[in-house]
Symmetry: C2
Subunit: 103 residues, 2 copies
Amino acid sequence: MAPEPVILINAFEVAEGHDEAFLEGWERTRAFLSTQPGYLSTRLHRSLVPDAEFRFVNIARWESVDAFRAGDLTAGVPGRTRPARGPPSLYTVVRDDSTAGTP
Amino acid sequence: MAPEPVILINAFEVAEGHDEAFLEGWERTRAFLSTQPGYLSTRLHRSLVPDAEFRFVNIARWESVDAFRAGDLTAGVPGRTRPARGPPSLYTVVRDDSTAGTP
Protein backbone atom coordinates (compact mmCIF):
# COMPACT_ATOMS: atom_id res chain seq x y z
CA MET A 1 0.00 0.00 0.00
CA ALA A 2 1.31 3.44 -0.85
CA PRO A 3 2.09 5.70 2.13
CA GLU A 4 -0.29 8.55 2.92
CA PRO A 5 0.66 11.72 1.08
CA VAL A 6 2.08 14.48 3.22
CA ILE A 7 0.41 17.87 3.04
CA LEU A 8 2.52 20.99 3.04
CA ILE A 9 0.77 24.18 4.12
CA ASN A 10 2.43 27.50 3.54
CA ALA A 11 0.89 30.89 4.33
CA PHE A 12 2.23 34.04 2.70
CA GLU A 13 1.92 37.64 3.77
CA VAL A 14 1.67 39.71 0.59
CA ALA A 15 1.10 43.46 0.66
CA GLU A 16 -1.88 44.88 -1.20
CA GLY A 17 -1.10 45.50 -4.86
CA HIS A 18 1.71 42.93 -4.98
CA ASP A 19 -0.30 39.91 -6.04
CA GLU A 20 1.08 39.72 -9.55
CA ALA A 21 4.72 39.82 -8.45
CA PHE A 22 4.02 37.15 -5.87
CA LEU A 23 2.23 34.96 -8.42
CA GLU A 24 5.14 35.18 -10.85
CA GLY A 25 7.57 33.99 -8.18
CA TRP A 26 5.17 31.30 -7.08
CA GLU A 27 4.81 30.01 -10.65
CA ARG A 28 8.58 29.71 -11.01
CA THR A 29 8.80 27.78 -7.76
CA ARG A 30 5.94 25.48 -8.70
CA ALA A 31 7.40 24.79 -12.13
CA PHE A 32 10.66 23.71 -10.53
CA LEU A 33 9.17 21.66 -7.69
CA SER A 34 6.83 19.85 -10.05
CA THR A 35 9.88 18.28 -11.72
CA GLN A 36 11.07 16.76 -8.42
CA PRO A 37 10.48 13.11 -7.45
CA GLY A 38 7.58 12.72 -5.06
CA TYR A 39 5.78 15.94 -5.98
CA LEU A 40 2.07 15.29 -6.47
CA SER A 41 0.11 18.53 -6.79
CA THR A 42 -0.52 21.97 -5.40
CA ARG A 43 -3.34 24.44 -4.95
CA LEU A 44 -2.83 28.13 -4.32
CA HIS A 45 -5.56 30.01 -2.48
CA ARG A 46 -6.05 33.78 -2.51
CA SER A 47 -7.96 35.58 0.20
CA LEU A 48 -11.31 37.03 -0.80
CA VAL A 49 -10.47 40.20 1.11
CA PRO A 50 -7.42 42.28 0.13
CA ASP A 51 -6.15 42.96 3.65
CA ALA A 52 -6.11 39.43 5.07
CA GLU A 53 -3.15 38.56 7.29
CA PHE A 54 -2.30 35.75 4.90
CA ARG A 55 -3.10 36.90 1.39
CA PHE A 56 -2.11 33.53 -0.11
CA VAL A 57 -2.13 30.00 1.27
CA ASN A 58 -0.40 27.26 -0.67
CA ILE A 59 -1.40 23.64 -0.08
CA ALA A 60 0.78 21.05 -1.77
CA ARG A 61 0.84 17.26 -1.70
CA TRP A 62 3.98 15.14 -1.68
CA GLU A 63 4.28 11.38 -1.72
CA SER A 64 6.12 11.28 1.60
CA VAL A 65 8.04 13.35 4.12
CA ASP A 66 11.24 11.80 2.83
CA ALA A 67 10.49 12.90 -0.71
CA PHE A 68 9.82 16.45 0.43
CA ARG A 69 12.92 16.61 2.58
CA ALA A 70 15.27 15.14 0.00
CA GLY A 71 17.52 18.15 -0.28
CA ASP A 72 17.01 21.88 -0.49
CA LEU A 73 14.29 21.69 -3.06
CA THR A 74 13.94 25.37 -3.73
CA ALA A 75 17.65 26.07 -4.11
CA GLY A 76 17.38 25.74 -7.89
CA VAL A 77 14.53 28.18 -8.31
CA PRO A 78 15.46 31.50 -9.91
CA GLY A 79 13.96 34.43 -8.03
CA ARG A 80 12.57 32.07 -5.41
CA THR A 81 9.80 33.31 -3.19
CA ARG A 82 10.60 32.97 0.48
CA PRO A 83 7.73 32.29 2.83
CA ALA A 84 7.15 35.13 5.25
CA ARG A 85 6.79 32.81 8.23
CA GLY A 86 9.63 30.35 7.95
CA PRO A 87 9.48 26.90 6.39
CA PRO A 88 6.19 25.27 5.45
CA SER A 89 4.42 23.07 7.95
CA LEU A 90 3.84 19.40 7.22
CA TYR A 91 0.46 17.81 7.83
CA THR A 92 -1.47 14.65 7.27
CA VAL A 93 -5.20 14.41 6.56
CA VAL A 94 -7.01 12.98 9.60
CA ARG A 95 -10.63 13.61 8.55
CA ASP A 96 -11.97 13.90 5.01
CA ASP A 97 -15.55 13.83 3.81
CA SER A 98 -14.78 15.30 0.41
CA THR A 99 -14.89 11.92 -1.30
CA ALA A 100 -18.18 10.87 0.30
CA GLY A 101 -21.47 11.45 -1.46
CA THR A 102 -23.27 14.55 -0.18
CA PRO A 103 -27.01 14.27 0.46
CA MET B 1 -22.36 28.10 -14.65
CA ALA B 2 -22.04 27.35 -10.95
CA PRO B 3 -20.08 29.91 -8.94
CA GLU B 4 -16.61 28.95 -7.74
CA PRO B 5 -16.69 27.29 -4.33
CA VAL B 6 -15.31 29.36 -1.50
CA ILE B 7 -12.55 27.84 0.60
CA LEU B 8 -12.59 28.35 4.34
CA ILE B 9 -9.24 27.93 6.08
CA ASN B 10 -9.13 27.67 9.83
CA ALA B 11 -5.97 27.07 11.89
CA PHE B 12 -6.24 25.80 15.46
CA GLU B 13 -3.74 25.98 18.29
CA VAL B 14 -4.14 22.79 20.30
CA ALA B 15 -1.89 21.95 23.24
CA GLU B 16 0.01 18.68 23.20
CA GLY B 17 -2.07 15.82 24.55
CA HIS B 18 -5.40 17.49 23.73
CA ASP B 19 -5.93 16.10 20.26
CA GLU B 20 -8.76 13.76 21.20
CA ALA B 21 -10.79 16.45 22.97
CA PHE B 22 -10.30 18.77 20.02
CA LEU B 23 -11.32 16.08 17.54
CA GLU B 24 -14.53 15.37 19.45
CA GLY B 25 -15.52 19.03 19.31
CA TRP B 26 -14.54 19.26 15.69
CA GLU B 27 -16.69 16.22 14.82
CA ARG B 28 -19.74 17.78 16.45
CA THR B 29 -19.20 21.00 14.54
CA ARG B 30 -18.71 19.18 11.25
CA ALA B 31 -21.80 17.04 11.78
CA PHE B 32 -23.88 20.18 12.28
CA LEU B 33 -22.38 22.23 9.45
CA SER B 34 -22.74 19.36 7.00
CA THR B 35 -26.52 19.66 7.34
CA GLN B 36 -26.46 23.33 6.26
CA PRO B 37 -27.33 24.47 2.72
CA GLY B 38 -24.24 25.20 0.67
CA TYR B 39 -21.84 23.01 2.66
CA LEU B 40 -19.72 20.91 0.30
CA SER B 41 -16.92 19.14 2.16
CA THR B 42 -14.11 19.47 4.64
CA ARG B 43 -10.65 18.10 5.31
CA LEU B 44 -8.93 18.28 8.66
CA HIS B 45 -5.14 18.24 8.72
CA ARG B 46 -2.98 17.37 11.73
CA SER B 47 0.61 18.47 12.01
CA LEU B 48 3.22 15.75 11.70
CA VAL B 49 5.11 17.30 14.63
CA PRO B 50 3.43 17.58 18.05
CA ASP B 51 4.60 21.10 18.87
CA ALA B 52 3.57 22.92 15.69
CA GLU B 53 2.12 26.40 16.16
CA PHE B 54 -1.04 25.23 14.43
CA ARG B 55 -1.67 21.64 15.42
CA PHE B 56 -4.75 21.38 13.18
CA VAL B 57 -5.76 23.12 9.97
CA ASN B 58 -9.29 22.72 8.70
CA ILE B 59 -10.02 23.35 5.03
CA ALA B 60 -13.68 23.39 4.08
CA ARG B 61 -15.52 24.09 0.84
CA TRP B 62 -18.80 25.96 0.58
CA GLU B 63 -20.85 26.69 -2.50
CA SER B 64 -20.57 30.45 -2.06
CA VAL B 65 -19.70 33.19 0.38
CA ASP B 66 -23.40 33.89 0.77
CA ALA B 67 -24.08 30.29 1.77
CA PHE B 68 -21.32 30.38 4.35
CA ARG B 69 -22.41 33.70 5.79
CA ALA B 70 -26.12 32.87 5.97
CA GLY B 71 -26.42 33.21 9.72
CA ASP B 72 -24.33 32.21 12.68
CA LEU B 73 -23.74 28.70 11.46
CA THR B 74 -22.04 27.36 14.52
CA ALA B 75 -24.56 28.74 17.02
CA GLY B 76 -26.42 25.43 17.06
CA VAL B 77 -23.40 23.28 17.78
CA PRO B 78 -23.24 21.84 21.30
CA GLY B 79 -19.78 22.24 22.83
CA ARG B 80 -18.64 24.18 19.78
CA THR B 81 -14.95 24.56 19.21
CA ARG B 82 -13.89 28.15 18.88
CA PRO B 83 -10.97 28.91 16.62
CA ALA B 84 -7.98 30.24 18.53
CA ARG B 85 -7.33 32.98 16.00
CA GLY B 86 -10.68 34.54 15.31
CA PRO B 87 -13.04 33.68 12.49
CA PRO B 88 -11.96 31.52 9.57
CA SER B 89 -10.50 33.17 6.50
CA LEU B 90 -12.22 32.86 3.15
CA TYR B 91 -10.24 32.01 0.04
CA THR B 92 -10.66 31.12 -3.58
CA VAL B 93 -8.44 28.75 -5.55
CA VAL B 94 -6.32 30.72 -8.04
CA ARG B 95 -3.92 27.96 -9.17
CA ASP B 96 -4.55 24.22 -9.18
CA ASP B 97 -2.59 21.48 -10.87
CA SER B 98 -4.13 18.67 -8.85
CA THR B 99 -6.52 17.70 -11.62
CA ALA B 100 -3.86 17.68 -14.33
CA GLY B 101 -2.05 14.50 -15.27
CA THR B 102 1.40 14.26 -13.69
CA PRO B 103 4.26 13.07 -15.85
